[in-house]
């Protein structure tokens, strides 16, 4: 088609101008798509870290706050040290969640030494029934059966302190609480709402009760939901234990709901950063609009000739729309390709991994960026094209 050919040739003879306009679109697409890729990769990374906790309900003592995240991360010995879940409450929870398993958890943090002459360190310790341990965590080395003076250690903790199965750890200041032998190393679990084992020790309840003088007053109860859904179980526990509105006993956290809220927050952040990328696309659009207006103004006489020898308005319009479309399509495709590279670089730098780069979500982000670039170009070409088509042929012919 002749108007397509004219549009191509006009871009070619104004190569620098067209390239600069294209560059704007390239930058816009890269900004939008790479921000999308970063956001998606962040969500994927967090999802990976949290995938093991999506089916948990965590019950912690009510501290007057709003729900809370359990006492797992901080461990005992904090300001909530006096707040515990009694054995009676635990038994109630156990009945409510059956046939799911409710695991009572002790937690604290204490001084410890690894080997002779090593530095004094402080780490978190959890104690939970040996029978429940395999349901909550997996081992990368050693054995679950840790006996009374055995312990499991988190993978990061083991790596940081060069621990192996058989290593010994002295607990308490100057080993006052005794020595534990490492019987297993726990697989990395990432972030967690129940118990975060990567930097912690897991001991038996018997040893813990003896060492810290505790007796069935738990810091939290973890319910791994295998039957039913977490929201219903959360409601059932609250109904049973928090019967009186003014005298609540426990705070119950539904990990699925919390995860959903986290994903929603990430999604908002992704949308926000993508919108910031969108600003550069708007700037690129203004640049396209500008060069299209220049193109129309430079070619008023040519438009007049075309119209006088029988070119319809829609044909004149198509010529300018083609021009905007060529700039938009080429710029957006180049931008799409570069955004994959930019997404790779940003993911590598900010997240330390690029394993989530080739995903459907990221492909969609690139697709969205490319489509947005093309649409912006077409939209910015419509008014100049319309103006060109509606020039009075007599005035246009007189134009110098």
């Amino acid at each position: 088609m002749i108007f397509w050919e004219i549009a191509k040739r006009n871009i070619r003879i104004h190569m620098l101008r067209s390239t600069l306009a294209m560059l704007g679109i390239v930058i816009g697409v890269v900004a939008i798509a790479s921000m999308g890729i970063l956001g998606n990769s962040m969500v994927a990374t967090v999802s990976e870290s949290l995938k093991s906790v999506g089916d948990s309900v965590i019950v912690s003592p009510y501290s007057g706050g709003g729900g809370g995240m359990g006492s797992g991360g901080g461990g005992g010995g904090s300001s909530s040290a006096s707040l515990k879940i009694t054995d009676q409450n635990y038994q109630q929870i156990k009945r409510v969640v059956a046939p799911n398993v409710a695991t009572p958890v002790y937690s604290t943090s204490d001084h410890m030494k690894i080997g002779v002459g090593s530095d004094d360190i402080v780490a978190t310790m959890y104690a939970l029934p040996s029978a429940d341990v395999p349901d909550i965590m997996k081992l990368q080395a050693g054995d679950y059966n840790n006996g009374n003076s055995g312990c499991l250690v988190g993978s990061t903790f083991a790596k940081d302190h060069n621990l192996k199965v058989g290593s010994r750890i002295s607990i308490g200041t100057d080993g006052s609480k005794g020595t534990l032998r490492v019987t297993g190393i726990i697989e990395e679990r990432g972030m967690s709402f129940d118990i975060s084992t990567d930097n912690a020790l897991v001991v038996t309840p018997e040893w813990f009760e003896n060492a810290y003088n505790r007796n069935k007053d738990y810091d939290e109860v973890v319910v791994k939901v295998k039957e039913g859904d977490t929201a219903t179980i959360k409601t059932n526990i609250e109904k049973q234990l928090n019967k009186h509105k003014d005298n609540k006993i426990v705070s119950v956290t539904d990990s699925k709901a919390t995860l959903s809220s986290i994903y929603s927050t990430f999604s908002t952040v992704t949308t926000f950063v993508t919108a910031i990328g969108g600003i550069s696309m708007v700037v690129a659009g203004v640049s396209i609009f500008n060069i299209m207006m220049m193109s129309v103004n430079e070619r008023i006489k040519e438009i007049g000739i075309m119209r006088s020898i029988g070119t319809q308005k829609k044909e004149v319009m198509s010529m300018f729309i083609y021009e905007a479309a060529i700039i938009g399509v080429i710029g957006s495709i180049i931008g799409g390709i570069l955004s994959v590279l930019a997404g790779y670089a940003v993911s590598a730098l900010m997240l330390g991994t690029t394993k989530y780069l080739l995903t459907t979500a990221n492909a969609l982000s690139v697709g969205e960026g490319v489509s947005f670039g093309i649409v912006i170009c077409l939209l910015c070409g419509i008014y100049p094209a319309w103006q060109a088509a509606n020039l009075n042929p007599i005035d246009a012919l007189r134009h110098e």
Binding site: I2, I13, G310
Partner: protein
């Protein structure tokens, strides 16, 4: 025999802030098929307005213009554009070729507007041959041609859709006298072959080539 163009009591008024300007005042005339007519008159006499009306670039305020018997006053922009494409060939003083297209593409342009993809590839060569343009220039762009060559291409472009009339606006105004004469010889030859030619000009030499001259003064036909 039906006239190719018929002006029937045509009035053209331009409404301006300072007051209405009557560019053409009750003009009536006919152009028969095969005629060669020149339109002359001083600057501001209404020649350009007359040319715009004959070329269907504008419509009269009062009166009616018939193109091969079809009234144009009530036509919309799309119909007028189609009429220009199919029935009128324009030849301008400054050639007005498309700088981005080569000779063949310039000549084919109106044919493409009319026929879309179904253009006759030999038609452009035929009309270029008729206007005596050397074949080796067919792939050149307008900027690579002389003024006379460009005007020949413009004539070929005007002829490509077999129009009812050729409207020429000072066709030799931008050419030296020798080249101008050769273009007018070409026009005469086309006229002899049956083309209807209307030539708006200041130049009495150009008017000499025509069968008759319409003189416009102050928007009225003087003779």
């Amino acid at each position: 025999m039906q006239p190719v163009i018929q002006f029937d009591d045509v009035v053209k008024i331009y409404p301006l802030k300072a007051g209405d300007v009557t560019a053409l005042n009750h003009i009536s005339f006919e152009v028969m098929r095969g005629e060669f007519i020149s339109i002359m008159g001083p600057s501001g006499s209404g020649k350009s307005t007359l040319l715009n009306l004959m070329g269907c670039l504008d419509t009269p305020t009062f009166g009616e213009i018939f193109m091969s018997g079809i009234g144009v006053r009530a036509m919309n922009d799309m119909e007028l554009t189609k009429l220009r494409r199919d029935r009128i060939g324009f030849i301008f003083q400054y050639f007005n070729l498309f700088p981005l297209l080569n000779v063949i593409e310039n000549v084919n342009f109106p044919q493409m507007l009319k026929s879309g993809k179904d253009v006759n590839p030999d038609k452009a060569k035929e009309v270029l041959h008729a206007v005596q343009l050397e074949e080796q220039l067919y792939t050149h762009t307008p900027s690579e041609l002389s003024g006379g060559q460009q005007q020949r291409v413009a004539v070929a472009r005007a002829l490509i859709n077999d129009p009812d009339i050729l409207l020429c606006d000072e066709p030799t105004g931008n050419l030296d006298s020798k080249t101008g004469a050769s273009i007018m010889d070409l026009m005469t030859e086309l006229n002899k072959k049956g083309a209807t030619i209307i030539c708006v000009t200041h130049d009495p030499t150009v008017a000499k080539y025509s069968d008759r001259t319409i003189r416009i003064v102050d928007g009225c036909i003087a003779s």
